[in-house]
Symmetry: C2
Subunit: 420 residues, 2 copies
């Protein structure tokens, strides 16, 4: 029987739990050594495959692979490299197949968001067209929670938990001090086109009047006057005002409130500086003392306060990807299916990649209150289960024990380099 | 025997563990009901005393008071209100004594930083001059860790832990992505005049080359060229560069890199916007893709990842304050004394307030590496014990259970108002 290796790569922005999916893939593959000889990981994602720069995960100990389940970020490196369409850039896809052939790779596990689902689909289509037997499975991952067909996306539950807790903690701080000091606090969170992360901050509120008092969603056009009026009213009524703003907050015409001018490889604008922009607006118009925070990478790497539900789902989706591949499935994405009934239950389903790629799931309008500044009971019902449970890493000397892999390279077999 | 009540107030910026000190004070006072009838807390700190707006902590359940030990921020409210000198503002001090007399308050526990140690001393002096029996004990608290005579300050260990963990997590994120994306990450932390908090980020590094690669201290004059050269060299050698910057980073002439122009009640400038300033510098000169985060209140309210050592010290200092008062002590501050020897041990000592007030303890030069960008082994030896242990709050529905007090007012006895 010929050897059949698997390739695994991490794509796009990393999360607190993407390594838990890697752990699920590798541990499960190790259970089926008869079917899957080795798992090779792409160093820095798909460009590791293009460069024939593969990592032999079989060189890592059982403990090191287990440690991935509680280590944030991308242990093999990730990348922002979008493969263009097959017509424009057939060479890149053919190179992938060439590398896979050289290393007897017949399983392709791609762990990422919408862009990588698209790549995964194209790789699957080309391998079929070229007659090279390859099963391509996409493992969902995105803190943005914007993939269709899955109830939620691994990575989101943990960032949601971090943002909800941070909002609650900072709000207690502001409430303590507002009599003589800061009256307005602004927390800027990620979320370019979808407000899921900002929405999660709404879980910090338990009673009427609790923070956050204003949530800004990319889905709701920003109205300066309405915003400032609500800030003023909240300070008058509550003594302080806590605002959680999606980085993608935008005006009616689609322009972002704060754009740094940089663009990433996908052509997305790099955002930042929304919080100070809003703070300036509040100061100029209302004169309140303010503070602002920008959580940035802290929110998506905060493994120390990851959601146990999220960690489990990330792991199980990695495990399911391998099992589905071994069942002969191709061009699919295992996904989270929410059970019916009051108590939260979830199972793993599967979604065809044609229906996943390049579609964004925004917040439904009924998840946002009529005034556009808060979340509804329906949103809370959806969000609350996703932050359930704490999954604490082990600590040593006061610091979490995050694993550091050896990342031993697989000897190269091709004598050609490939320019990316 | 006449009633003897105690007054407790929180002062200045709140922390993740100041309520643990409150818990220590109240639980200990409850053990000595014969000596201390009730503990009244100032609503919003010392202005609660000036306004005769007192909170009767005896109305809170045992469980609620216990809950303070794991609740961040100031449960009774804090304030930034510095009492001026006795000569300039005798009326405020006399008002305090008047309120204390009306409510039979003979113990004054003031929980704050250097400014409040000064107030505490003056209250003690005036009560003596006025022949009103009052014992004034200062309970140290400041995330800035800049009080003299105590080995460390409650609040600091938890912010140190938060900053060290956040730096480590964000650095893993950047390291994962740096091949094709962000190369420079800047985390702005608190620390106006002393670099203790930024220094704590150094605990994230385990091996040569680990992040943080650059720490900016207020104690070291900022040198633009040297900074940019080090950023460039680090990106060339490590592939990425993580910078942790004290908000108080300043040029040789003492001007801050980023000043918002606002000043607080103590006349301190309100800082902010250092991280984007540094990011712009890096972009303009080196062209690297960057990200930045400003932790702001998130760092000092992060009870979810508080240091167990810090929580214990905060509690024990509150307990000691009551015990010292009952021993007849006055105008002192219980403090942390570090034991000698390899294993970290601490006991509680006492420091006279004359020697505490209005003195700032900066980082010793031998805690900062020769190049000014890192911490030494001596600094690590000092810092490491302070972040030991995790003190997790209880959770319910995925969120920490932070206590919410009833804060029942004590009926007023004076018929005069007091303008602050």
């Amino acid at each position: 029987m010929p050897r059949k290796n698997a390739f695994y790569a991490q794509s796009g922005g990393v999360t607190a739990v993407i390594n838990a999916s890697a752990c699920g893939v590798i541990e499960t593959a190790r259970k089926y050594r008869g079917e899957i000889s080795r798992v090779y990981a792409g160093r820095n994602g798909i460009i590791g495959a293009l460069r024939e720069d593969l990592i032999d995960t079989s060189k890592e100990s059982t403990a090191a692979i287990r440690g991935l389940a509680s280590t944030p970020a991308g242990a093999f490196g990730s990348c922002r490299h979008k493969l263009r369409g097959l017509e424009e850039n057939r060479a890149e896809y053919e190179r992938l197949i060439e590398v896979f052939r050289a290393h007897e790779i017949h399983y392709f596990f791609y762990n990422g968001g919408g862009d990588s689902a698209d790549t995964c689909l194209k790789v699957s289509q080309l391998s079929e067209a070229m007659g090279y037997p390859l099963q391509a499975i996409h493992i969902p991952k995105t803190i943005d929670n914007d993939l269709p067909l899955t109830d939620c996306c691994p990575g989101f539950g943990s960032v949601a938990k971090y943002v909800a807790i941070s909002t609650k903690e900072a709000a207690l701080d502001v409430a303590s001090m507002c009599e003589t000091s800061t009256k307005v606090f602004i927390l800027e969170v990620m979320g370019r086109h979808a407000g899921w992360i900002a929405a999660a901050s709404g879980l910090a509120a338990e009673e009427e009047g609790d923070a956050p008092h204003i949530i800004l969603f990319p889905e709701i056009a920003f109205d300066r006057d309405k915003f400032l009026k609500r800030v003023g009213d909240t300070v008058k009524n509550q003594g302080y005002c806590v605002i959680v703003a999606s980085e993608g907050t935008q005006y009616e015409d689609g322009s972002f409130l704060a754009e740094s001018g940089l663009k990433d490889a996908f052509g997305h604008s790099q955002l930042g500086g929304l919080a100070p922009t809003l703070a300036q607006m509040v100061k100029d118009e209302l004169g309140y003392k303010y503070h602002w925070a920008v959580a940035d990478y802290l929110q998506r790497s905060a493994r120390h306060i990851a959601s146990l539900t999220d960690v489990k789902q990330a792991y199980d989706l990695g495990e399911a990807a391998v099992e589905l591949a071994l069942q002969g499935k191709n061009a699919i994405m295992p996904c989270i299916v929410r059970g019916k009934g009051q108590r939260y239950r979830w199972t793993i389903g599967e979604a065809p990649l044609e229906q996943v790629a390049n579609r964004e799931k925004k917040m439904p309008r009924n998840f946002i209150t009529g005034n556009g500044f808060g979340i509804t009971a329906a949103a809370r019902e959806y969000l609350e289960p996703l932050i359930q449970g704490e999954s604490y890493p082990e600590y040593s000397k006061g610091m979490p024990k995050y694993v550091r892999l050896k990342n031993v390279p697989v000897p190269r077999k091709l004598d050609t380099d490939f320019d990316i």
